[in-house]
Amino acid sequence: MPESNALRQEVSALFERRFGVSSESLAGLAFRERRDEVWACNSPPPSGIESDRPSGLRALRRRADGLKPTSTFLIALGDCITASRVDLDSDLLRLVLLGQRVPAPPGHTDGYVALCFRDDVVGCGKLRGGLLHGLIPTGRRRELLNALDADSRA
């Protein structure tokens, strides 16, 4: 599963154009595609090691409309993301985590966004037709809802 220049350029262009991530921030990472998934890794394993799962983190999924970043990878990029950040207060974030579509905040174009809470990236969302919905995996959504509940009680 070697890295290809074309894939690197596609990934770098997406993150730079949509999320304002500089190409230098991704420079140490190798991107490899397996089936419809793109994985990011900064140190491949020694030769002779076999694994069912690629090294590093699942960074993107290839969909009919292009590459969709994973929540895990957006969280890993964190402050490197300088564009398409949508800040949500706890009430709005809670609604998004519950699977609801909420009115999109002004100033963003349709497409994938980084959902943020108190300046931290918490996952991937999508804006479409003036509505925002979350794309955080179900189990992680549940955990974050619990953390928000605990946070509001503190």
Binding site: G28, L29, A40, C41, N42, S43, P44, P45, P46, S47, G48, I49, E50, S51, D52, R53, S55, G56, L57, T72, I75, A76, G78, F117, R118, D120, V122, R140, E143, L144, N146, A147, L148, A150, D151, A154
Partner: protein
């Protein structure tokens, strides 16, 4: 009255080790107190002082341990905080951080964590490497591998490869600079949180685990490159799973046991147990008891391949 109570309790907590554990009354007393909660900073994502500030802002009392500032003692559970969810911290007993401290992986090195789940030490190794150098995190159990994966993802480790070999059959094709064998064990040293272990683990369990541990330590040693470092650790007090296992490796291979150097007060490896006498260098292993660190207990050995 207090001395009567202590005498009674002293006879009910791991009595097999009364002759080898120093300051026995304090040991017994500590075993009956709850463990402090420690948050290890994920330095891949945040600096310890910054994490401490974030916890303090939430009204959580948080103080960095003087001997290891990445460890933050907190006054309440933090497993349900946003910071935990974000992967800024990993909840880990202080004693459980010692094996990686001894392993001391450096950026660029290839590291194998042979018994990796649930991933506390794997993610600690990742922090030491600072994102440079491959980690192979091996866990044969599918169920335990899920926990490992979840933690590797949560802490945003970009240099780990997860494998599922039986540890004793790990392929010899690859060679590593550093290897951690945090072996499956009878876990007697977790007695502070597992009250059922106060009587000690069954002898049969200890014997079965010791056989597995001997196979694991030899295979791990064979995966080291010359000049590489192997750390063997457990969370048990049983010498059969500790000193005996290290002595077995020294018999089987031309391994060099080197003294474990730690920034905390610990005890030396035992010179003998149960009629077995160990090589003198085994004194250089570290036994950690709960009252020495106000944590759980454990055992750590550091081995080099010439």
């Amino acid at each position: 009255m207090r001395s009567d109570r202590n005498t009674l309790e002293a006879d009910t907590v791991l009595p097999r080790y009364r002759s080898i554990i120093p300051d026995w009354e304090r040991f017994v007393d500590t075993c009956q107190r709850p463990l402090p909660t420690i948050a290890r900073t994920n330095t891949l994502r945040i600096a310890p002082a910054e994490l401490r500030e974030r916890l303090l802002k939430q009204g959580i009392s948080a103080s960095q341990l003087t001997w290891e500032p990445t460890l933050i003692e907190v006054d309440r559970p933090v497993g349900n905080t946003i910071e935990h969810w974000l992967g800024l911290l990993y909840i880990q007993e202080a004693v459980q951080t010692l094996p990686v401290t001894v392993l001391d992986p450096r950026p660029g090195e290839a590291v194998l964590d042979l018994c990796a789940a649930p991933g506390g030490k794997t993610t600690q190794i990742a922090a030491h490497l600072g994102g440079s150098g491959p980690i192979v995190a091996n866990e044969p159990s599918g169920r335990r591998q899920q926990a490992l994966l979840a933690n590797v993802n949560r802490l945003a480790v970009l240099n780990a490869t997860i494998t599922a070999y039986r540890g004793e059959n790990f392929p010899l094709r690859a060679r590593f600079d550093r290897i951690l064998v945090d072996a499956p064990c009878s876990a007697e040293a977790t007695v502070r949180k597992e009250v059922s272990l106060r009587a000690g683990a069954p002898k049969g369990t200890i014997a079965r685990l010791a056989r597995l541990q001997k196979r694991l330590i030899v295979r791990a040693y064979d995966c080291l490159r010359p000049g590489g470092v192997l750390v063997y650790s457990t969370c048990t007090f049983a010498p059969e799973e500790n000193e005996s296992v290290v002595a077995h490796l020294l018999q089987q291979r031309d391994a060099r046991l080197t003294p474990v150097l730690l920034p905390v007060n610990v005890s030396a490896g035992l010179p003998s147990w149960g009629g077995e006498t160990y090589p003198p260098e085994i004194r250089g292993c570290a036994r950690v008891y709960p009252h020495q660190l106000d944590s759980g207990g454990g055992f750590v050995a550091r081995i080099e391949r010439p």
